[in-house]
Amino acid sequence: MDDRQRILSRVRAALAPLPSRAAMPAYGDDDGVVRETAHDFAAAVARAGGRVFLEPALLVQWLVGRGDVRGYCDPSVAPEVRLALSRGLVLETKLVRRRLDEYRFGITRAAGAIAETGTIILDDATCSSRLAALAPWIHVAVVDPDTIRSRVVDAVGALGTDPYVLWCTGPSKTADVEGILIEGVHGPGEQVVLLERRFAPSSVRPTR
């Protein structure tokens, strides 16, 4: 008998003598509802420690102001948005792994967002590179406002079939040292959202 059979038969033997087994509780999505019902995505992003920009030009201004002008941009971000971003920024559309530390920012498309928590949703189909969204100090997620879901429970019901769905709620953080909050541990120290309707559909994504 291999370990698989051994474990399953031990589970069955453990459960067999039970006089009754716990039923699945009936519960509604409202059982997990948060007190406030109106969800403001931008406010929630800020609460989680992130930033929202409504115009590419404003994002460029912020990045240039920080001195972070060179970075990666997903080539499938809509051309007119890329054009707007390239006014002031140097955008590389190919991520070179051995130069990973040189990218000051990474701009990738998000698959959606959650208003309740200020979460952005990335997945393998929409995000051009997992590392580009992770390694640079600043990650900019291009979010189409039409893809923002209201609550965590709604987003859980819409995970789809992508093999890697990732929810990001604010910048990478730790409180391991004396409970003091430090942002930017292994991932981005700045989690930025660019709300942008000019969002390339996934069908125009170039093959790599």
């Binding site: 453990a14 699945m24 007190r35 989680a48 093999p163 430090i182 541990v185 292994h186």
Partner: protein, 464 residues
């Protein structure tokens, strides 16, 4: 001093360490309270639902476990089962050796602590670097974690800075930001050099075969994004029925653990990377571990398997706050550990059977538990089990002599009169338990027989 091991440990702690643990756990509990009661009108309703879902899953674990394994295989992952720690270690080492992996990066997983995976892989010649900041500090200072969620709750910045200086990460600097940046730089190189990633799983959804990983630092993200092989080690009790149920658990987990609405990163992983995605694993393995869990399932403390490892019961526990995690001498500290550690110890139950006694049964752990585990009841059941299996508890006097005297009235009267010698007896003659008690207490003078005298007088008065 008390002969209970946990008391002895607590007494031997430095004031500095005691303060770290007390302040850290108190802060964690306060954040949880704000998040849970700030956001939910009826948090207890949500806790009850979560507990019922978990209990239902455990009571049908054969069905859900097989379903999860089948779905994971359909998604393109390879599924393994490991009956015990040794089997799990061999399975994982085998996976890495087949890929000729020399370096692995590991995210935080309690199960890997349970089977001492990192140490075993190092023995097999495979470097295994902990990437969670706290776990990394634990690894390089040859320590063990003292908290489920915050592994270095017991350490202050000075100790961490000294460790970093010793291993060559730069001159002494105890600024938390500098400590964190140094780890970022060092570990980034490790991710990019690594051949494989090892992570745990917070949940496994049986209907979709999705592994759910919850972290704040982004280290598990990096482990998976930078490597080509992802190995997941997970206890069989982590399965839940459907993805919809994740809504309940995700809403509770971060609020209970750290007072956040959601942890920063929630990863839903159902297999190797998607088509067109340049980064991430082309091979994913999931190892389901038993290691004593089916024994727990067969016993009268099976509710403990609902645990989602949030650490809320540690933070609220008056005993944990005084004793710290290391006093529990096992991977799982605090109230959950007091139940789980003796159970998972198997034949070595008696080594940990003192832990269920290290509680006032106040039930605070139950009140904060996101899956509504009646921990205080389980502690009582384990105390009973210790008695039934004849485990001796230090400091508990035998009742045999008392029951002999108490059932013979003349003997009882004689004992009451003879008791007066206790007042004049030298203290070194007293039994150890009484001596320990006397260190902190004043012994009142003997009053045995006073009630009988009073009653006899009262009767005489009334009758006369």
């Amino acid at each position: 001093m008390s002969r209970e091991p946990i008391d002895q440990f607590a007494a031997g702690q430095t004031e500095e360490r005691r303060a770290s643990v007390r302040l850290g756990s108190k802060a964690g509990h306060e954040k949880r309270t704000l998040a849970i009661f700030g956001d939910y009108a009826r948090p207890d309703r949500l806790r009850a639902i979560a507990g019922q879902i978990k209990q239902h899953t455990l009571d049908h674990l054969d069905v859900y476990l097989e379903r999860a394994a089948a779905r994971l295989e359909a998604n393109g992952a390879k599924v393994h089962f490991a009956a015990d720690a040794d089997s799990a270690r061999r399975t994982i080492a085998g996976i890495l050796q087949r890929r000729q992996a020399k370096r692995a990066v590991k995210a935080k997983t309690m199960v890997s602590e349970e089977i001492e995976l990192a140490r075993h892989l190092e023995q097999c010649g495979i470097e295994c670097v902990e990437t969670d900041l706290g776990e990394f500090v634990v690894q390089v200072s040859d320590d063990v974690p003292s908290h489920i969620v915050k592994p270095i709750l017991h350490k202050n910045r000075r100790e961490i800075a000294e460790t970093f200086e010793r291993i060559g990460l730069g001159p002494y600097d105890d600024t938390p930001e500098v400590i964190t940046r140094r780890a970022r730089v060092f570990l980034r190189r490790k991710y990019l050099e690594a051949d494989a990633a090892i992570t745990g799983a917070n949940f496994v959804s049986a209907d979709s075969g999705r592994i759910v990983l919850v972290t704040n630092e982004g280290n598990s993200r990096f482990c998976i994004a930078a490597t080509r092989c992802h190995v997941v080690i997970v206890g069989i009790e982590k399965v839940i029925p459907t993805e919809r149920d994740l809504g309940v658990f995700l809403n509770l987990l971060a609020r209970s653990a750290t007072g956040q609405q959601l942890s920063v990163y929630t990863e839903f992983i159902s297999g190797p990377r998607g088509p067109g995605q340049p980064d991430g694993p082309d091979e994913m393995h999931v190892v389901f571990l038993d290691n004593g869990r089916t024994d727990v399932l067969a016993g009268d403390c099976r509710e403990i398997l609902r645990c989602i490892r949030c650490g809320a019961c540690l933070n609220v526990c008056p005993v944990y706050r005084q004793a710290s995690g290391h006093a529990y001498r096992s991977v799982y500290p605090g109230p959950v550990g007091a139940v789980l550690s003796p159970l998972l110890a198997g034949d070595r139950f008696s080594e940990f059977s003192d832990l269920p006694r290290a509680s006032s049964l106040c039930g605070a752990c139950h009140e904060v538990c996101p899956v509504d585990i009646p921990i205080e009841d389980l502690l009582v059941r384990l105390r009973n089990r210790a008695k039934q299996t004849g485990v001796k508890s230090p400091g508990t006097p035998s009742m045999a002599a008392w029951s002999l005297i108490a059932s013979e009235p003349p003997a009882w009267r004689a004992a009451l009169a003879a008791g007066r010698v206790v007042d004049v007896l030298p203290s070194w003659l007293a039994p150890a338990a009484l001596r320990a008690w006397r260190e902190n207490h004043e012994m009142p003078s003997w009053r045995g027989g006073a009630f009988r005298t009073w009653l006899a007088k009262r009767r005489t008065k009334r009758d006369g």
